[in-house]
Symmetry: C2
Subunit: 551 residues, 2 copies
């Protein structure tokens, strides 16, 4: 059944209303299909019935109507995943397109998710011995040419500054696509002896890659990321560091973003331009396409040889340093949307949510208003004091039903409803975003701060782990073990991931890509115990690989 939910213009907590037709514009700008016929499942209407009489203000229509309610719709996810994704980004005010093709404006609600990513990782990076610093974004073109495979990988995607201060520059400048070259230029000046190692730094920065096919968050001309860079005295230390950082990313994905990524090693074909080995975390999106959500590279001595980054070891010998680099970007925000969102809109894991609890006060008569608002305010204050991220939506320009729909669409994990009867009984009603309808709604939770705080924190923890469990089930039911190319092709054609033993050539890998659209996402760290024969060649295979279509 397909009906349509319309979300009117409003001033949200974070930012002004999204321009009308902006969804359409987003699609156009990012070269995607035009919007489909307006459609939206009835789930949202079903999931937010106000429980008592004084909660429902638009019972007859069955859905919220309001001024500005014109052409805003969310395409059902099952109908068109891409259109759904763009609708979420527009309606939840996560991002907008920039004036230059393929660029993106990250709006406050989307940026707050990126800030949650930063806050967590920044602490972890420091705990693991890294310091933040900042390198210039302009890199002499000659630097990019110094490492052979690096220039091959990046030169088609470069943005070049050729004019500065009104004059043609003698040497054109690259706007950094990544910073290995300039980092090595500086490391060469800073590193002299083994005492200067390990050198472990990170920077939060913008980078530019001239992509032809773009998609908000997932692939944009300019994006935000962190890039770690380290130099070590031995290959073992560099390998340990590369593994340590992919592990930091894996823990972050599971524990914070509730995304059950599969961590593993990239194939030779898919390895970063300039690295010996690339480790990756691969996430399964709601359409079962893979998203490379973070990478960690063992660079070996490739850049240190190209840039002459040497140190004097304990025996007085000159050696090239061993290096790593690793990165997570704003792409991860796209991963969160596409992992947890549903037809109602965004669904945020509590640990990533800019707002964890929204409080909706409900009153009908004027003489009820003060009591309800006072109670709502004191509940808000108590929860804020407990360290929770709380939004009290006390505007009287919107109906409670409208607010329910709006904050569900914005993915807020918990909603607290407070009406006159609740004030009398000293209790509140609490609804979970991840459990639609009456099932997710509990009445009569005490307003007493310590009881309410404990209840809310328990529910947030439950939602956090429930989202992860749901994503694990979805992932595992969509990975097929295959032992032949035929089985692989069938799995991919069904939209699934195929996992099978692989020891075939790079050429065979490219053939799979051409014939099925799938690539090797990784050789997962977790390997099965059974004996293996390459699915393509029948030769012995030491590892299974995972194949999937990807973003």
């Amino acid at each position: 059944m397909v009906s349509s939910l319309r979300l009117p213009t409003l001033t949200s907590l974070f930012s002004p209303s999204f321009a009308r037709r902006s969804t359409v514009s987003l699609r156009r700008r990012f070269h995607l299909r035009p919007p489909l016929a307006a459609g939206f499942s009835a789930q949202s209407a079903a999931s937010s019935p106000a429980g008592t009489d004084d909660r429902v203000q638009n019972k007859k229509s069955g859905r919220v109507q309001d001024r500005g309610d014109t052409d805003r719709v969310i395409t059902p996810r099952s109908q068109d995943f891409n259109a759904w994704y763009l609708d979420i980004i527009a309606n939840a005010e996560l991002a907008d397109y920039g004036p230059v093709r393929g660029t993106m404006v990250i709006r406050p609600y989307g940026y707050a998710i990126w800030e949650a990513i930063q806050d967590y990782l920044n602490v972890k990076f420091k705990e693991t011995g890294h310091s933040n610093m900042y390198f210039p974004q302009f890199i002499p073109y000659s630097f990019i040419e110094k490492e052979a495979s690096h220039v091959e990988g990046f030169s088609p995607e470069l943005a070049l500054v050729t004019v500065g201060g009104g004059k043609e520059l003698e040497e054109k400048l690259v706007v950094r696509p990544t910073s290995e070259t300039i980092v090595n230029h500086m490391f060469t000046q800073w590193i002299h002896s083994y005492r200067d190692l390990p050198l472990m730094i990170n920077q939060w920065a913008n980078v530019t890659r001239w992509e032809m096919r773009t998609k908000p968050f997932v692939r944009t001309l300019e994006f935000l990321w962190q890039e770690g860079h380290t130099a070590h005295a031995t290959p073992e230390e560099a390998e340990n560091e590369a593994l340590q950082m992919i592990d930091v990313y894996t823990k972050f994905a599971y524990e914070q973003a509730a995304i059950p990524v599969i961590a593993g090693r990239k194939s030779k074909v898919e390895t970063f331009a300039g690295a010996d080995k690339t480790y990756t975390i691969e996430a399964m999106m709601g359409d079962r396409k893979a998203l490379q959500a973070g990478t960690s590279h063992n660079l070996g001595q490739n850049f240190s040889r190209a840039f002459g980054t040497q140190f004097t070891d304990e025996n007085g010998q000159r050696q090239h340093v061993w290096q790593t680099s690793w990165a997570i970007s704003t792409r991860f925000v796209g991963g969160i949307i596409m992992t947890h969102g549903d037809d109602t809109g965004l669904m945020l894991p509590p640990r990533m949510a800019p707002i964890q609890v929204v409080i909706v006060p409900i009153w009908k008569k004027v003489d009820e208003k003060t009591g309800v608002l006072d109670a709502a305010k004191s509940v808000a204050e108590a929860l804020k004091a407990a360290g929770l991220k709380v939004k009290l939506d006390d505007t009287d320009q919107r109906t409670p039903g409208w607010k329910f729909n709006f904050w569900e669409m914005k993915g807020v994990p918990l909603r607290i409803e407070i009406g006159p009867r609740d004030v009398s009984s000293g209790s509140v009603v609490i609804s979970r975003r991840d459990v639609p309808g009456k099932q997710g709604k509990v009445f009569g939770i005490s307003m007493e701060p310590s009881i309410l705080e404990a209840y809310v924190k328990d529910r947030l923890d439950e939602i956090q782990s429930s989202l992860l469990q749901k994503a694990i089930s979805f992932r595992d039911s969509n990975i097929v073990d295959v032992s032949s190319y035929e089985e692989l092709k069938e799995a991919i054609s069904l939209g699934k991931w195929a996992r099978g033993p692989w020891s075939a050539s790079d050429a065979d890998e490219l053939r799979v890509k051409e014939e099925t659209g799938a690539t090797i996402r990784c050789f997962p760290f977790e390997q099965p115990q059974w004996t293996r024969t390459c699915l393509m060649t029948g030769n012995p295979a030491e590892e299974v690989a995972i194949f999937a279509k990807s973003y």
Copy 2:
């Protein structure tokens, strides 16, 4: 008396050793004078005499000698302020030059100061109702041309991207020098009615201005900053916002950075390109030149008219919004260096210091080592647990005397020394960075955590306010009240700031600049009560202005 202190290469907490001759290179790169003959006052040697026998390891030489001790010196501040500044930046490992002329690498110790600025301001911005977001850095060239005075102000300084993905672009792109134009392009799409106002956002970003004369932190081709942008329904609201934000900056400067800035309004000549009014905080550096340390602009309707940013007011009328923008940049780090530093090196206000307390354990005999290190570690843990930023320098590759000098040069506010006798007596020795020699040194402070913690916090508070008081005295003794142009010229020629009544023309203002090198820094908010006659024309003057040479 001039002697020389040499600081050898070492592996610091934050980063590897600074390359030899890097100070010289810094000077060369930033087009400054070559280093003067090595010279350094004896103050540092005097200020760090180890108090007891077991603290001095190089008594005979009177200064620390170590491997790598080659050509590292800090020019005395009084001898050559610029050379001193560059020496501090190099020796304290705050920054290095990038490979492209005028660009800068911000090293971990310098970046940590920037992070302290960010941490404080980010909270204040949110408390005052602003949300963070992110705009693309590439701006279509045509945008810059839309606001007449804006294009005039910025076009000579632009970096242009003309090639992307291997192709010549149809429209060249500006690498943002500031974001008013692209912000207004987006605001125009987001703002519809008075309900969408005020719209108050901020972004932390890099910006590029093709400066010809550069200086680390103070003026670089690329720098980091925050830029706030707001839109309001009335001119009064915009004016209040512009004033509110210069007030946030002023409080930050006084309370956190211990810099007694003078807040005021810029003259017409010095107003931001595109603003109606510019408010500024002006700081007096150690050489008595002024540093514009932060600005807040009332943009009026200049950009909203250029970009058609309109809203429907409560009466249904279309109106252009009223706007502000405001910024503080990495230049502020330069301001901290040049306000508080002395011949010994950097001197950091405790609230800005990446390390507030350094602990130096001291032992001579092997059997003393364990006891001393254990005590030092437990003191470090206790202070860290109390929320202090603590570094335990327990390497045995350096002498205590060397460490004293090194951490003084890095500007750490407090040093705790622990030797065998201190372990026996359960006490420590504490030295203040801002009070040289024996005067700043106190013996016998109990190691008992609660006593030590309270003592250390009190001392840090004292240092914080002492640095501010010292800077206020310096500032006030270098501002001269003038009532004629002759007096103004004399004050400026003595290197001072001149404050006097001013109501003369823009042409007169430019004449002062040509003849004296000084500009109007601001019309300070704090105005004297006496009657005024313009120092230049003798006409009535409503305000006094402050004139000074500036960075």
